[in-house]
């Protein structure tokens, strides 16, 4: 991958809505070249989608609860953890799923509208799976930083207006 592709990826990761024109100027390419690179990266599934990072807590009616659930499972012969992982990640409530080393095996991130919804998911769907031995549910209380983005009001420019 050459430097320009990396530069473009970094810039659109930070702001996916940046216009092709601005992006092209910043990386010193033509608009066509820039669009070609983006298209290529989309085709190669390097760019998987474009999304916004939204602080939903600022919008009252859309508040959600997020929980991280530590899951211990018995791996199955031949397929290890992949089989049970697939069963779990297919549930639409699951935002993320990781295989972990240490005290438990899978880390499941769940998002629901209410605590009850999450609780129901854990007790009815997750813990009833054959291979699941135990679950420990942690609710997130406040989001300070997510995906590299700090959830606070932006920093002010403290500089004086003209300096040498």
């Amino acid at each position: 991958m050459d430097g320009k592709e990396l530069e473009i990826l970094q810039l659109i990761e930070e702001n996916a809505r940046i216009s092709d024109e601005t992006l092209a100027k910043m990386v010193d390419l033509t608009i066509e070249e820039t669009r070609d690179i983006i298209k290529e990266l989309e085709d190669q599934k390097v760019i998987l989608g474009y999304s916004a990072v939204i602080d939903w807590t600022k919008i009252n009616e859309t508040e959600t609860v997020t929980a991280m659930i530590d899951v211990k499972v018995t791996p199955k012969r031949g397929v290890g953890f992949d089989d049970v992982a697939e069963r779990i990640y297919r549930f639409p409530e699951v935002r993320a799923l990781y295989l972990m080393s240490g005290a438990y095996d899978l880390s499941v991130v769940i998002e629901g509208k209410t605590m009850q919804e999450v609780a129901r998911f854990v007790s009815e769907k997750l813990s009833t799976l054959d291979s699941v031995l135990s679950t420990t549910t942690h609710f997130q209380l406040k989001k300070y930083k997510h995906d590299g983005v700090v959830f606070s009001d932006g920093e002010e420019d403290h500089r004086i207006v003209i300096t040498p």
Binding site: T22, M26, V27, D157, R159, V161, I162, T163, P164
Partner: protein, 370 residues
């Protein structure tokens, strides 16, 4: 500059392109090192020349980034900003009546500092035709029997201009022939975008006659910390140290602790900031060309210096009218000395959103002039 500052400060909703400092905040690890230094109670003076540990780090940095070797014990002084380094260098080398060549347009302090040191500043103006580089013939012409030194600064504030090693070689030759000293202010060295930074001290015969000034303000986004350094042969640093030890004693201890952290772990942050400046430069300079303000491509620092000659206004009129009608603050070029008239300094050390808005407003201003 003062008048502009007062005017601009009295207005709201200003987009400022007038700022000669990074828009980044000092990297967190560096701020954290300062807090920790306080927690551990490092609140006393350090050695006059600065903590040896810091000087060792500076020596490593100079070697790694610019292939320059300096002895941390005798050839490096930690100063209160590059500003203090400039002052003590001039006071150490200038005798009353000596002439010091100042290559303009340039940082506003140079000529006054020469005067304060008892010398006479001799201005040599560069122009956009040579991309604001100093031509050997220009230098040759300005030299008199009284010339003691020449002040150079590349990448340059306000033009963003840089000089390559080959281009500096012609200058070095004349400096050597006339047995001059060079004060080379390389505080923007990290912000060199299109070729590697060339230091004049690296050219043959130049190390022994170069006082190299740098610091943490720009590359590490540490302007408010007031920390810089100077490297030079020991006979020069020892003369400078005498002035430094009686006027400053030493640079701030917390800042020195922070600077050690900056050099040890801050280079990744520097790279990220430099990449961002480069992208903004590309965006900004192209946009200037599109709206009819011809702008040479600045190879370094974070300033664009477009020409406003075709508007028929002086740089002062342009800056003032732009401020009053569109609330964009820029610095008129003449304040940077000879060669600066007909240009405005626009810093791109500000967010992309601000740059976009500034371009829109300046374009509207340009149309209103027609």
């Amino acid at each position: 500059m003062r008048r502009f500052f007062d005017l601009a400060s009295s207005m709201d909703n200003i987009i400022s392109l007038g700022v000669g400092e990074p828009d980044f905040i000092t990297p967190w690890a560096v701020r954290e090192a300062c807090i920790s230094s306080l927690e551990r109670g490092y609140t006393s003076y350090t050695a006059n020349a600065g903590m040896l540990e810091l000087r060792v780090e500076i020596a490593k940095y100079m070697k790694k980034q610019f292939q320059l070797s300096y002895d941390p014990k005798s050839e490096i002084i930690v100063t209160v900003g590059a500003s203090e380094a400039l002052d003590i260098a001039l006071r150490a080398i200038v005798d009353p009546g000596d002439e010091v060549i100042v290559v303009e347009p340039t940082f506003v302090s140079y000529a006054p500092l020469v005067t304060l040191a008892g010398g006479k500043p001799v201005s040599v103006g560069t122009t956009v035709e040579t991309n604001f580089r100093l031509m050997p013939e220009q230098l040759e012409k300005a030299i008199t029997p009284k010339t003691k030194a020449i002040m150079l600064s590349f990448p340059n504030n306000p033009t963003g201009s840089t000089m390559t090693e080959d281009e500096l070689r012609g200058i070095a030759k004349i400096v050597e022939e006339h047995d001059l000293l060079v004060l080379s202010d390389e505080i923007y060295a990290e912000m060199t975008y299109d070729h590697t930074h060339a230091s004049i001290a690296n050219l043959s015969g130049m190390r022994e006659r170069t006082i190299l000034i740098s610091g943490f303000s720009k590359a590490f986004a540490m302007t408010g910390w007031r920390l810089g350094f100077v490297t030079a042969p020991s006979d020069i640093t020892s003369a400078m140290l005498k002035i430094h030890q009686y006027t400053m004693m030493c640079a701030s201890t917390m800042a020195q602790h922070a600077a050690i952290e900056a050099l040890q772990s801050g280079m990744e942050d520097v790279k990220k900031m430099v990449q961002s400046y480069k992208q903004r430069r590309n965006y900004f300079v192209k946009s200037f060309d599109e709206i009819g303000l011809p702008c040479h491509v600045p190879g370094g620092a974070f300033y664009a210096f477009p020409s406003i000659k075709n508007t028929g206004l002086t740089s002062e009129q342009f800056a003032e009218q732009l401020l009053l009608s569109e609330r964009v603050a820029v610095v008129p070029g003449h304040v940077f000395g000879s060669g600066g008239e007909g240009h405005i300094r626009c810093s791109y050390a500000t967010s992309l959103d601000n740059l976009k808005e500034a371009v829109t407003r300046i374009e509207r201003f340009m149309k209103s002039l027609k």
